[in-house]
Subunit: 418 residues, 2 copies
């Protein structure tokens, strides 16, 4: 069965480039995208066309760093310093996910909100709880969302009510991985919370497991200066944060590292050489007064960068907000560096939230032939009337102004899920 | 007729203070607010109670700097540098308001969006056009919005198609002021665009007019460094920007100055001494890479500060977004100053968007007895289920997460307008 979406199609094949096809056709079938065409080709004349008229058809969004249980504390405790915030909110909130009924209620809402806002691919932290993690994966899969979910590992430097022993952590990780076999679109990703909460033994075991089973890895890195000091004290043999992951085999081209706010030239070079992916979380870094990551420099140096909402350090789940917050943060960094660093354009930030991350899941550039269809449709008819606008202008305005109420359709893996 | 709203009432009487009355009564009549009570007093037993259940009743919002015609270009041109942005978007957009039909269409939408988002008091720039300005005032008044609107004056350093001659500017200003007599809740405010676009003669004339008629004045000040240099070149007799207004009598306790990003200790002292109000526009200052105003220092030094969306340099009309953007900008400034400046708390930013600005219109602190009722009701039932939350926590979450769809009622001057 061949289908087509008709509308103004806007893809970001490369950083800073937009492919715009006005009133064109995005043709796809079960096998994936067949192409983007100005006119419907003869051979697809029988396609079932969904006509979105003058609406905007964009690539859907990838949220490459977020904490699922923290959805329950979104937008709270933002006046607290990091450690108080962790103790008053984060750990207490995560502990509740031992209760599967509670987990179901929160994770159903999270999945709905992701879909509603056009996020179809994710890279997500769960909590330490194996069963709640499997439930989360189940709910995401059923919602049509794709990506990675990780059961958190932590066996030190955290409250007793959340800490695992080394043995528990290993045993539960294996039990969790066994449970993941049944999912098609949601895959496991190993998730040492961050260096301070994982013993050397646990890190070594996880590194070995990643290698043996070819698993992806996610963690946090260089988020704030106190944390960096702490890590260096814990690993006096390591000169920089990244080396604490690298020495255990947790720093390769299957690794997603959140934040990297304070990654200097040497750490950035290490990320480039090892193919590590940076999940830049602008809103969280601002809310927690961490700092602003040198994203533009990373991109200039060919470090791979994607975006994350990082809820609930970040207070905005919609990736449209994350995109504009990323642009705003880059402008603040521009101010901070005396206009030395340039800012991210709308086209650049859109690329980071779409193609740059979709490539982690094997996708190509923009709406590439053969890729499963991941798309959102934005209806901007309710925005202010003005002089006639180009599709490029409407795209920019859509990115800045649209919310869930303007997202009238969402496609994931070729299936309409909103 | 005595009325009461029942719900969780949250007012900000002073900077950083919250007055919370859980499941209380906000009693009012045509003459204004009669009080906030935990239990409905005997003498008001006959009041018509609107029961908002467990919802949150907040003070409604004041947007103290925005450009009405720029609503038509909201969220566009954000990648352009300031001068290109002005030429490609701002001036072209403003020129269209010579057409009254067009003006009506845009201003109706603007008024609807303000109400929908709980903004009931404004301090607004129109364009140079007298008739469109009167139409804007009419539409705002009919929508139930209160505040100041100014016909822009500019007789130099702007495109020919927008520039007035000195004589035109005077004549049209007087004609506009005559037309304003019919409005009850919308008042005129003199609006020299900013020093570079107003001849010395025009500034002098406006200053005299303000004094003669006791009118308020609004303008822009110290937004970016190139602008400041330009102003100093235009007025070599003035040491600082503020003096170019002060020498013409346009810098008193009836003056609202937008931005003040680069106001140093001396300029801030001048604002304090003259009672000038700063309209801080965080989103605009970030979007245009201007800088971040030293708001916390201003407040510590007893300079009066209020908030503005500054659309369309700002890309967010909802004051809830402006409040959180203000907090975020203050955290960025904290980062920038090596944690020397503190950030604004949620309670502080809420105060700046409510009581601090309402006082310009003669209101008291919080929901003060005798003030006309200005309130919004936030329904947070759709937010994620979590552990039981305090009203204070729900207030914070509401500020961060609510959008127009969560604002279920808006009151302005005692009348429900949404």
């Amino acid at each position: 069965m061949i289908s087509a979406l008709k509308g103004n199609i806007i893809a970001a094949p490369k950083l800073g480039e937009l492919d715009i096809t006005e009133k064109g056709y995005l043709v796809f079938n079960d096998g994936g995208i067949l192409g983007v065409f100005q006119n419907l080709p003869e051979k697809y004349a029988g396609a079932e066309v969904t006509d979105f008229g003058d609406k905007l058809i964009l690539q859907s969004f990838c949220d490459m760093h977020l904490h699922a249980p923290q959805f329950a504390m979104l937008g709270m405790g933002m006046d607290l310093p990091l450690l108080d915030w962790l103790n008053a909110y984060t750990f207490r909130t995560e502990a509740q996910f031992a209760d599967l009924d509670y987990a179901r209620e929160v994770y159903m809402q999270l999945a709905q909100q992701l879909v509603k806002n056009g996020t179809t691919r994710i890279c997500m932290f769960s909590s330490v709880h194996t069963d709640a993690t499997l439930l989360l994966m189940e709910i995401l899969e059923q919602s049509g969302i794709c990506g990675f979910v990780g059961k958190v590992n932590m066996d030190r430097n955290c409250p007793d009510y959340l800490a695992e022993t080394l043995e528990q952590s290993k045993r539960e990780t294996l039990r969790w991985l066994d449970g993941c076999a049944r999912f098609n679109h949601i895959k496991p990703i190993l998730t040492p919370r961050f260096t301070p909460t994982c013993s050397d033994e646990l890190m070594a075991w996880l590194g070995q497991l990643a290698a043996e089973r070819g698993l992806y890895v996610q963690s946090h890195m260089s988020e704030n200066l106190a944390e960096i000091d702490w890590v260096c004290q814990l690993h006096p043999d390591c000169k920089q944060y990244w080396e604490t992951y690298q020495k255990y085999g947790l720093f390769g081209n299957n690794t997603v590292m959140a934040h990297c706010v304070f990654s200097d030239e040497r750490e950035r070079a290490a990320m480039r050489e090892h193919g590590v992916l940076v999940a830049h979380c602008a809103d969280s870094n601002v809310n927690l007064s961490s700092g602003i990551a040198p994203v533009k420099q990373m991109l200039n140096e060919n470090v791979r960068v994607v975006l994350g909402s990082d809820i609930a350090g970040g207070a905005q789940l919609p990736m449209l907000n994350v995109i504009t917050m990323t642009i705003r943060a880059s402008k603040m960094r521009r101010i901070q560096t005396g206009w030395q660093d340039n800012f991210l354009t709308v086209a650049e930030a859109y690329y980071l939230a779409t193609t740059a991350a979709a490539q982690v899941f094997g996708a190509g550039e923009g709406f590439a032939v053969g890729d499963p269809l991941h798309a959102v449709v934005i209806d901007d008819a309710s925005f202010a009337k003005t002089r006639p606008l180009s599709v490029r202008e409407r795209f920019e305005r859509g990115i800045y102004l649209a919310d869930h109420s303007n997202i009238c359709a969402v496609y994931s893996e070729g299936i309409r899920i909103k």
